[in-house]
Structure formats: C-alpha cells, structure tokens
C-alpha cells in the first residue's frame, strides 16, 4: 500500500479493507476530474502532481467596496453585474454591507435582468484571498443608466449606521445574465458606503 506521507511517483488507491479502488475520470470538460474524499490523500496526490492530473473545484471569492454620494433622493442605479457568455462561472451573491453617516433612510434593491443603456464605469473586484492572482470573470460597473430595473428579488432598508444584507449564495447569476443594485434615499446629497461580496463557482 502506498504511504501517502512519503510521496512517490506511483500511487495506488485502496479502500479501508485493502482493496484497490478503481478510478473513473470525468472527461466531460477540458480538464480531468478526480474526486477524493480523504483530505490527506488529496494533499498527497496534489503534491505528487500525479497523473492523471488532479485538480480541485475552483471557487473564488471576490469583493468590491464603493463610497459614493446620491445627488438625488430618487431610486438610482449603483452597481451593474454582467456575467458574460462563456465566463465559465456562476456568480453567487454572498452579502452586501451598507452604511451611511447621514440621519436618513436608504432603500436597497437587487434586481435581475435590468435593461441597461449605459454600462457605467468598469471596476476591478478584488480577490478576498490577499495576493491571489485569480481575477474575477464577471464585469462590474458603477453608476449605470437603466431604462428598466428588471425583476425585484431583494430589498433592505438602512438608517444611519451600517447594515449587512446576508444573501448566503441564495441568488446566482449564470453566464449571460445580469443584475442591478439600486439605492433610494429619503433626502438628496448624502453619502453611502456599499461593499459587495460574492463567489464565482466554476461548476
């Protein structure tokens, strides 16, 4: 039986009774997929750079923080998410953190499938793993122009202070779908803070 703590170029998988475990490769995608439940064995295989190639499911997490001012008290588009065709990932919203120092009320809304005429300013989301070179596969724009906001799927209300809107991956954007975040204030000319965090799942 192979000693997983002393890696060699040859590895054979056995079950708990000592029987050789057959391995089936998933070749549905361009990468071979081998799922191994035992963490120690997984790590050993990874260090071996074993053949067939082993890789772990890629799920990256991203964040984007923005500070802005609402010049109007009308509902105003703030973030526009565009998951392009062929991105290979699903965007799954984790949460939004909202804040305002003003003694007013902000209404937060999340829509699916808005009608956008001007994308706004393309931003650069940051990987939540500091130093990671993996970049987001989606396009995030600030201050877009919308002629229709789309299907309302989530709302929240914040007064002075901060508020977390936990979505816990409950809303997803597959490739070729879009979403819009708007804010509406109870009075004009007030500052807001908003941080968006999400996962990009390559499943």
């Amino acid at each position: 039986m192979a000693d997983i703590d002393n890696a060699t170029s040859d590895v054979t998988l056995y079950d708990e009774l000592g029987n050789i475990v057959g391995v089936t490769l998933n070749t549905d995608t361009s990468l071979y997929e081998l799922n191994v439940r035992d963490d120690r064995l997984s790590d050993s295989l990874y260090e071996l750079n074993a053949s067939p190639h082993f890789y772990q499911e890629r799920e990256e997490y991203y964040t984007f923080a923005y500070v802005g001012t609402l010049g109007s008290k009308n509902e105003t588009p703030i973030f526009y998410y565009q998951n392009p065709t062929g991105s290979g990932v699903d965007l799954e919203f984790y949460d939004f953190d909202l804040g305002t120092p003003a003694n007013i009320t902000f209404i937060f809304r999340l829509y699916f499938t808005p009608t956008i005429t001007v994308n706004g300013t393309l931003q650069t989301p940051h990987n939540t793993s500091n130093g990671s070179t993996n970049a987001s596969s989606i396009n995030l724009y600030t201050l877009p122009t919308a002629t229709a906001y789309g299907t309302l799927v989530e709302t929240a209300v914040i007064t002075i202070g901060t508020l977390r809107v936990p979505l816990e991956f409950g809303y997803a954007l597959p490739p070729n779908t879009t979403a819009l975040v708007t804010l509406e204030a109870s009075s004009a000319n007030n500052d807001y803070y908003i941080t968006s965090k999400w996962a990009e799942d390559s499943d």
Binding site: V67, T69, S72, T76, T142
Partner: protein
C-alpha cells in the same frame, strides 16, 4: 422654541456622485466666485432635536439669501466632494 436649518449643497466634483445637478459646475463657479469668501467655515454641525431641517437645491437656497439674511450668515462645511451650506433661522422663510 424651534429653529429652522436650511441646508444646500454645492458639488466640487461629481466623480462618485449619482444623479448630480445638471448645472453643478455653474453652481460651483457662482458660489466660489461670488459668495464663498463671505461664509463662515465650520468643521462640524450638530442638529438639535428641536430643529426643523429643510433641504433646498442650490438655486432655491441662493434666492433665499436676501435681507435680513446675507452670505455672512451662511455656515460652510467642506467635505470631500462638496460644500454643505447651512442657514439657521428662528422663523421659517416663506
């Protein structure tokens, strides 16, 4: 006795401002050129519970500053992207 706090805003830049006034640049020039030197600069403002706060766009606020008020009665609080202007009165301005 209640006070009345009239508030307005003049934007210095609109980089991160959603739906700014269309004539914000004209308002900025008008304020900085003709009125800013007269206003009282402040670092903070606290609004009491007995104060009515009334927001005005700059053009309407500008038109309110007539006798017995003048620009020397206006407090200016400068923030990152705007000047916030305040006028406190003991009677409402109609």
């Amino acid at each position: 006795m209640a006070d009345y706090l009239y508030k307005s805003v003049v934007y210095k830049n609109v980089d991160n401002v959603a739906s700014p006034p269309t004539d914000w640049a004209t308002q900025k020039t008008e304020y900085e050129t003709n009125h800013q030197a007269d206003t009282i600069k402040i670092d903070e403002i606290q609004v009491a519970a007995t104060t009515f706060e009334i927001n005005k766009d700059f053009d309407d606020f500008h038109d309110m500053i007539v006798s017995p008020y003048d620009w020397g009665d206006i407090r200016e609080l400068e923030t990152t992207n705007r000047y916030e202007l305040y006028l406190v009165t003991s009677e409402p301005i109609t």
